[in-house]
Each structure stands twice: as structure tokens, then as C-alpha cells.
């Protein structure tokens, strides 16, 4: 069983992001990048499958931001091979471009399962998995929270989330692309000493891909959400705000 995990970096919201003077993009100088959270879960699910079935796990990350850190962390956690996918692009690509880059990185390789985060905070459109599956002519299921490989290795049974607290079990023939919502357990911790050993060993492979021909999305305007009418902003010290909230709740008879 060969598993590919596809990962990308997204802006770290802890550092805050600012819109550039052109009003069409995030100011790149304001950004620090971090591994997309659902990609981290995809890696965890792959490592759990490796522990259960001796699968081989390979991680591919687009080169943006702290990708080297991400790939070393993946190695330290137990991935078998990590690859930095160099794109030659100045800014992180949108999902149409990213999916083409990933396809050129993994096409022809004997992967049974291709896992990626179901969506990332930078575009929230969740289209990467579906686009990949389309280009590779493979089945795709998203919003996965559990993966079990059948004994003959020919299919997987996945648990997929539905609205309203429902979930479904689906059997998917392999090879397939899965969009991971959450791993079966929170992503594991890797002690920094182990991470630093891996960083020193420098076992990150690099793969140069040719610039894709995908027509990128064109952003016309990027802006902060505008304050809706009817919203009341509560201001003051924490104590004053707390008092206003309790007053509002009791006015609406929501307090006993």
C-alpha cells in the first residue's frame, strides 16, 4: 500500500494578515506561513494507516513558506519520503494551478491512496481533491474522518461527515483521492530534538515542476467583511461588556 499526502502552506492567522495597497491580494510581507490544518490531519490519518498496515507514506508539499519545516516534521513523525515541490511561482497558487502542479508531481507513481486536507483557509473552496481526482481519472470522496483499508487492499471503507450530525460509511475502490476533514486522533506531537535531527540530516528531496498552464482565478477585490446592519457592537471593559450581555439575555428572558 502506497499513500501520498499532499500538503500546502496557508497564512498563519496568529500573525494577522493585511490586504495590500492594490486591494486584490494579501500583503505578502505581512504573512507567515503554516501547514494547512486539514493537511496536518491528512498526514496523521496516513501515519495511522501506516501503523496498521505497514503502508508506505510519501509527503509532497508546495514550496511556499515553512514547507521545509512541514516536511521535516512529517519525516520525524514517521513518513518514509518527503518531497518539496518547487513551482517557480512567487505566490502560493490557487487550487486550479495547485492541482495541476501536484498531478505533475505524482502522475505515474504507484499510489493507492492520495490524501489531502479537504479544504484550506486561504480559499475555502475545497476543490483541490476533486480537481486532482478529475485530472487523474480517480474517484474522490471528501469530508472524511476515518479510513479503513480492506484486507485485500483493493478498497477502503471511509466515514464521511454529513450535515446535522450524520455520517455515512462508503466503500471506495482504489486508487482513490480522499479529502480529509479530521484524522481519527489529533495530529501527534513530535519532540523538537527529533525534529532538529531530521533537519540536520537534510533528507528533503526537491522536485522542480514546470509552470502549469492552468488559468489562475483572477481576484477583482479583496476586502474585510463589512459590518452588517442590525449588528450591535458591545464596547467597554470586560466587566461592562459582561453586564451588557447579561442585561440583553435577561431582557430577552433567556436567563432564569
Amino acid at each position: 500500500m502506497n499513500i501520498a499526502v499532499l500538503a500546502k502552506q496557508v497564512p498563519d492567522l496568529v500573525e494577522g494578515v493585511e490586504i495590500d495597497a492594490g486591494g486584490k491580494a494579501v500583503d505578502p510581507t505581512s504573512i507567515r506561513y503554516i501547514l494547512s490544518e486539514s493537511d496536518d490531519h491528512a498526514l496523521e490519518e496516513a501515519l495511522l494507516l501506516k501503523e496498521r498496515t505497514q503502508a508506505r507514506v510519501e509527503v509532497f508539499s508546495l514550496e511556499t513558506g515553512e514547507a521545509r519545516d512541514t516536511l521535516c516534521t512529517a519525516l520525524a513523525k514517521g513518513a518514509d519520503r518527503v518531497v518539496m515541490v518547487r513551482t517557480g511561482l512567487d505566490t502560493p497558487p490557487d487550487n486550479h494551478t495547485a492541482s495541476k502542479i501536484f498531478v505533475s508531481a505524482i502522475a505515474g507513481l504507484p499510489f493507492d491512496l492520495i490524501l489531502t486536507g479537504v479544504r484550506a483557509i486561504d480559499d475555502l473552496d475545497g476543490s483541490l481533491g476533486g480537481l486532482l481526482a478529475g485530472y487523474l481519472n480517480l474517484p474522490y470522496v471528501g469530508l472524511i474522518r476515518k479510513v479503513e483499508i480492506s484486507s485485500d487492499g483493493g478498497t477502503v471503507v471511509v466515514e464521511k461527515e454529513y450535515p446535522g450530525g450524520y455520517a455515512a460509511e462508503l466503500e471506495v475502490r482504489l486508487p482513490a483521492v480522499l479529502g480529509i476533514q479530521a484524522a481519527e486522533q489529533p495530529p501527534r506531537y513530535v519532540p523538537v530534538s527529533r525534529l532538529r535531527q531530521v533537519m540536520k540530516a537534510g533528507m528533503v528531496e526537491e522536485l522542480l515542476t514546470s509552470p502549469p498552464t492552468a488559468q489562475p482565478l483572477e481576484v477583482e477585490r479583496l476586502f474585510q467583511p463589512e459590518e452588517g446592519k442590525g449588528a450591535t457592537m458591545l464596547c467597554g471593559s470586560p466587566e461592562e461588556v459582561a453586564r451588557q450581555i447579561t442585561n440583553l439575555l435577561s431582557e430577552r428572558r433567556l436567563l432564569r
Partner: protein, 401 residues
């Protein structure tokens, strides 16, 4: 100038993380008297008490202890270490080794602790706040709080503010008051601002050796960049680590905790303490200012200098003081611990404070205002017993509020 003798360092740091095999020799001097287990406020809840953990180390059964609840119940109060007749580093030697063992074995960590460690790796503080916002609190201090990189000259005092006093709202207020006090005393000081990172005490004691080493390397590099006469510390945990542990790892800096720094300036401070507070106050000795560094007299001298303060002692005080239950990263393990103990140490300590009939519980550690304020709510003392940092009491008497 008042003189306070800095007591001898009551610990021998030795190898920070005795490898599990290598630690045996050191611990072979254990006479199995059980003073550690009898003194341990958490021993009852542990699968293996400290004495049994040492015995199992010597018997080659350390793996069983690593796999039990024992590693995560030590709150590093250091009572075992100061009472051990063989002077063994139990809380801050054996337990970090146990926790390193848990991590090396790849066992899952408590999620709150894992988040704190990951945040410290990424941002240099356990809360996951942006390092760029480290000096935000100072903007509303009402007095200048210079950042050393912008001053471009040596300063007398470099104030290392540390994580809780920089980022936690309850403690930010205390930091602003300390800034006003330093200003009123005419101290030439500056802070590190966005260059400051966690000093690594919690990470060391949590068994995260690699993270601790990474923080040490970075902090020594930053501190070596600037010229100052001495370092002033707000957080007793960091103070103890910078004073007692960094020197063996290549970072020797003249360092003082603020209670010591201010007590040395009592002659200058006293005329400024104008407002009478008229309150009975009891003082909680934090483990890092008490058992780990021996500063028992300075906080009491500061409190007694405030007009109208009547200082009373709790049943357990000074060397015997009960821990608030938040040391060695257990501040992130509250939920884990709460499920395993009859009552939380902070609640027990709050009841001891209430028994003195004091109106104010004075503290000098940034973990404590929120820990004891929660405990006051849980034990029904809210509004009756007010938790105040010594800085807040001094600032009130100096009318710097």
C-alpha cells in the same frame, strides 16, 4: 539600602535530563525513606509515588512508570527535593526524565499541553500569541517603556517581562503597574519587546529537552546582543531557570527577581508608600521564589513596608508552603489533574488563606492571580478574599493606579 542576602542555591541542577539508564547511579544513593512520597501533595493520586518511582528506576522497571499517570501529576513544587536526605533531584530531575521518556516513546500527549508546546515552538510563547504583539501591553502603561533595540544604548536594567505578564490580560495590568513603579523610582530600564521569547522553564520540566535547548540558544543570542547591568525578572519560574540553569548551558547573566530588586530599594520606596491600605494580608510563597531560590524575606519586607498592612501567615508557609499546583507545565494539565485528585491544590491553598481571616491573598508569581481567583470562586471566597500581586498593593499605596 536594605540588604538581603541571596541564600545559597538550594539545588544542584546536575545533568538536566539524566538519561533513563544514566540516572540510576545518581539515584542509587536513595535510602527509600519515603520522605518524598510523604511530602508530595500529589503523591496520593499517582499510580507510583515518588519513592516507588525511584525504586522502579533502580529495579529496571522505569518503563512501567513512564506508562502510568505518575509523570504528569508532579507539579514541581520541589518539596521532595529540599527534604530528601540524599539530596536527589526528584521533581526537577527524575520527573523531566520520565516525561522525556513519554515523548521518546511516542505516546500521545495531553492536547492542552501539546498545544502549549507547539505554540512555544512556533511563536515563543505557550498562548500562541504573535511575538510581534509582545510589547502591546506597554502602550497603555502611562509611562515610557522603552524597547532596548530602539534605544541603541546600554541600559541599567533589562526587564525580561516573560509570557504571562506580556500576554495575559490579568497580568498585563500588573506589568503596567510595575512599569509605573520603576518609573517612579527613576530606574533606567528597557524591555526586549518582540525579540523576547519564553525562557523555557515549563518546557524543560515538561521533558521537552529539544525545545528547551532551542529556546536557550535563541535567548542567549538575544541577551548577548545588548548591554545592561542586570536583568529584572517578573516570573519566578523563568527567574529560577535563568539564574540556576542557564549558566551551566553557556548563559551567565546577573539576574534578579522583582521582589529582590524592589526590596533592595526599600529606603527609596518607603517614602513613596503614602496611602494606608488598612488590610490583613497573607502571602503565598510560590515554589520558585521559595524552595527553589530562597526568597522568603523580601516579599514579606515589601508587604510590611506598606502602611496599614497587617501580615499574617498561613499554616503552611515558607519552606513548607503548599504549591498552587501549576508548575512544570501542569498549568496546562488542569483538566487531566482535576479528574485524578480530590481537590485542586489551588483550592486547598485558598482555604488555608481563608483560615487566616486575611482580606488579601498576596502573590508574586504570574500564574497565581488567575489560579487563585478561580479557586476563590470554587471555595466560596469570592469577594471575601481578594487576590493581589505585591506589585498591585505597592502601586495602590504609591497611588500609581
Amino acid at each position: 539600602m536594605a540588604t538581603f542576602q541571596t541564600p545559597p542555591v538550594p539545588e544542584k541542577p546536575g545533568p538536566l535530563f539524566p538519561e533513563i539508564a544514566g540516572a540510576e547511579d545518581k539515584f542509587r544513593t536513595c535510602i527509600q525513606c519515603g520522605v518524598c512520597s510523604g511530602s508530595c501533595p500529589m503523591g496520593e493520586a499517582m499510580d507510583f509515588s515518588p519513592r516507588r518511582a525511584v525504586k522502579m528506576l533502580l529495579d529496571g522497571r522505569f518503563d512501567e512508570v513512564v506508562g502510568s499517570n505518575t509523570p504528569w501529576l508532579c507539579i514541581s513544587c520541589h518539596t521532595c527535593a529540599v527534604r530528601c536526605p540524599s539530596q536527589l533531584q526528584i521533581s526537577d530531575g527524575l520527573f523531566p526524565a520520565l516525561r522525556s521518556g513519554v515523548m521518546a516513546a511516542g505516546k500521545a500527549l495531553d492536547q492542552d499541553l501539546q498545544k502549549a508546546l507547539q505554540n512555544t515552538y512556533l511563536y515563543g510563547n505557550p498562548m500562541g500569541e504573535s511575538p510581534r504583539k509582545r510589547a502591546e501591553w506597554a502602550k497603555t502603561a502611562g509611562v515610557p517603556v522603552p524597547i532596548i533595540s530602539q534605544l541603541k544604548r546600554p541600559v541599567d536594567v533589562l526587564w525580561v517581562v516573560e509570557c504571562y505578564p506580556s500576554f495575559q490580560p490579568r497580568n498585563q495590568e500588573i506589568s503596567r503597574k510595575l512599569a509605573r513603579i520603576l518609573n517612579a523610582l527613576g530606574v533606567d530600564f528597557a524591555i526586549l519587546g518582540h525579540e523576547e521569547r519564553c525562557l523555557g522553564d515549563c518546557e524543560w520540566l515538561a521533558g521537552e529537552r529539544g525545545l528547551f535547548e532551542m529556546l536557550i540558544e535563541r535567548n542567549i543570542e538575544i541577551l548577548n546582543k545588548y548591554r545592561f547591568r542586570e536583568i529584572l525578572m517578573t516570573d519566578p519560574h523563568s527567574y529560577r531557570t535563568l539564574r540556576n540553569v542557564y549558566p551551566a548551558l553557556g548563559g551567565s547573566f546577573p539576574v534578579k527577581h522583582l521582589v529582590q530588586f524592589l526590596a533592595e530599594r526599600l529606603d527609596q520606596l518607603k517614602p513613596l508608600l503614602k496611602k494606608k491600605l488598612n488590610a490583613t494580608v497573607t502571602y503565598h510563597d510560590s515554589c520558585c521564589l521559595g524552595r527553589k531560590t530562597g526568597h522568603y524575606d523580601e516579599p514579606r519586607a515589601l508587604l510590611q513596608a506598606i502602611p496599614g498592612v497587617k501580615l499574617v501567615e498561613m499554616i503552611q508557609n515558607r519552606e513548607s508552603a503548599l504549591c498552587c499546583g501549576g508548575g512544570a507545565s501542569t498549568i496546562y494539565l488542569d483538566r487531566f489533574i482535576e479528574e485524578r485528585v480530590k481537590d485542586r491544590l489551588a483550592d486547598r491553598r485558598m482555604q488555608q488563606a481563608a483560615a487566616t481571616k486575611a482580606e488579601i491573598l498576596a502573590v508574586a508569581c504570574p500564574f497565581e492571580p488567575s489560579r487563585f481567583e478561580d479557586a476563590a470562586k470554587i471555595t466560596g471566597q469570592e469577594g471575601k478574599l481578594v487576590v493581589q500581586d505585591i506589585i498591585e498593593l505597592l502601586a495602590e499605596s504609591m497611588e500609581l493606579v
